[in-house]
Symmetry: C2
Subunit: 336 residues, 2 copies
């Protein structure tokens, strides 16, 4: 029996720019109704003009109708209320990176001084602009996210009307934080639902599965699966699909990121079917996001999947996707 | 003031075969008096003829005098006492690999059935042939070594006269096991004294630091440093220097192993100097091994190091060493 997904949303997506944008934007725009677009270009997207121009480049590259890029700004504690009011109609969320924590995050926040952050975060609360956070400290790689939970809690407590999205959570610790604060939400990626550190470094080293935050322990993946499969009302799908050219992945000093956009719905369908939770997939990939992000409009798009083998291409342009060359059990058979 | 090391020994070394052997044997034979040579060729070294022929190939490739390769057999539970008696003069130790746990270990031991292992291990006890073990289970990559400790303990208890060497230990759990059983010993590598998982996967992914067992947590490295720097009488230096061609390291599905043979003494000297333990380096890299392996003879060789910059080559043949292109603070200035 075919599976249908209405208006799927990818609430955390990297589309990059220039040639890479032209490679990957058509893939996301084909099967998703919309996506939260990360602002970590070089230089980062941080002005109204940047946002408008980048959105235009994305729409030009998208090729498919009924796809809305939800634009974000790169968080700076210098954003004033006046500035935020002026960009509000163009900006769906603001993304905060701790400095130096991942690709192109050098200009991020160092230290989390509540009083320094207060004017911007209070303005965001008032204007209903969610704050998306890459929540990792500079600690030991397996501990960084769990260590950051105290910062999430500090922000959630100090700014109770700010919607805080814990992006791409990977740990039991973050899952547990979800229910402690009413204004904490989370995105979960495909790859963190599928892999652990074992898949990255337990056999041969697999650079195409190397990402930040790094995949964690089996019990962490179990915690993520538990809330995703039941479509916990505070979690949303966000692929964090992050393309890098093949040469940047298969080299000494491999870049972080897993490219999943074109295979995400197929793999999620299989995962939810396997666990007899297919009735929750619609909420995980669309309804929850619409309820959390009250400031988005979602174009209509219906994706039909069937249980038919789909062999993942070895690459899309120069980008190697997750499961490259492998055969998945579900195929997208119609997009309307 | 120059540092001298007498008769340094590398109690865990991969020399490979053919062209790779010709690249790496001269490097170890130059600065070490001897090394325990791993038997995981394809097919593994498992007969007297294999041992004699491989030793001859090593000596032919070595180029430097006063270097003894201490040969090992690939453990099989089918080795009889008669067989072991017949090879005793050619074989310094026997290396046990759990099946499939690392490079070329497919023919290793599956399950650890004491009664199945008993005849071979009792014969080894009687003949004073140490058992070297790659101690990892098939569990989650960060837990494999700690999980294996119970197998070490089972073997140590059942075969109290067998010398059991826990090879390339990486965890606090293994360090703690050392003192619980009189017949447990350990080798420690250079790289596990220097790095944690952060260095492998905390920034960009570093394939040249990917090894098995994988580098662990900061507290594990601290435990290793503690026993190495004080030259705990049951620990020995064993580099586990494991060359792979550059293309096999910098690719999708990178092979496990860090190549340290030509830089090990320089880095160890710096580490022991930094921690004001230089007086213990001689025991760590030679005396302890001579006391534990009572069945070896050690050629004389004196290595002199001085505090002078040494820039590590970008590669030795097609092998990229640890610290490639970086400048170390100690240089080998004389070998006699």
């Amino acid at each position: 029996m075919p599976i249908t997904i209405n208006n799927p949303l990818d609430m955390h997506l990297h589309l990059r720019d220039a040639d890479m944008l032209k490679t990957v934007a058509p893939l996301s725009s084909e099967s998703f109704s919309g996506a939260i677009i990360m602002p970590n270009l070089v230089p980062p997207v941080s002005t109204k003009e940047d946002v408008i121009a980048y959105k235009k480049r994305i729409l030009n590259a998208s090729e498919h109708p009924n796809f809305t890029p939800y634009m974000t700004l790169f968080f700076k504690p210098t954003y004033s209320k006046e500035f935020l009011e002026s960009v509000k109609d163009e900006v769906t969320a603001i993304k905060l990176y701790p400095a130096g924590i991942t690709t192109n995050s050098e200009g991020g926040v160092s230290g989390f001084d509540v009083e320094e952050l207060r004017p911007t975060l209070e303005a965001m609360s008032e204007l209903n602009i969610p704050l998306c956070i890459h929540g990792e400290t500079n600690g030991f790689v397996m501990d960084r996210e769990a260590e950051f939970v105290s910062i999430y809690e500090m922000l959630a407590t100090n700014f109770p009307n700010l919607k805080i999205i814990m992006e791409h959570i990977t740990t039991k610790a973050s899952v547990e934080a979800l229910d402690r604060f009413k204004n904490l939400y989370a995105t979960i990626t495909l790859h963190h639902l599928m892999i652990t550190l074992d898949d990255v470094a337990g056999g041969m080293l697999q650079p195409h599965l190397f990402c930040k935050p790094i995949a964690k322990r089996p019990e962490d993946r179990e915690a993520l699966r538990k809330v995703a499969l039941k479509a916990h009302p505070k979690v949303m799908f966000g692929s964090d699909s992050a393309p890098h050219p093949q040469h940047a992945k298969e080299s000494c000093g491999c870049a972080a990121g897993v490219f999943t956009a074109p295979i995400a719905l197929q793999v999620l369908t299989e995962l939810f079917m396997e666990h007899s939770n297919i009735e929750n997939l619609q909420a995980f990939v669309s309804e929850n996001a619409k309820r959390i992000y009250t400031n988005i409009e979602v174009p209509n798009k219906t994706i039909t999947l069937e249980k038919k083998p789909f062999t993942v291409p070895n690459s899309y342009g120069e980008v190697v996707p997750m499961y490259a060359g492998e055969t998945l059990n579900y195929t997208i058979t119609a997009i309307q």
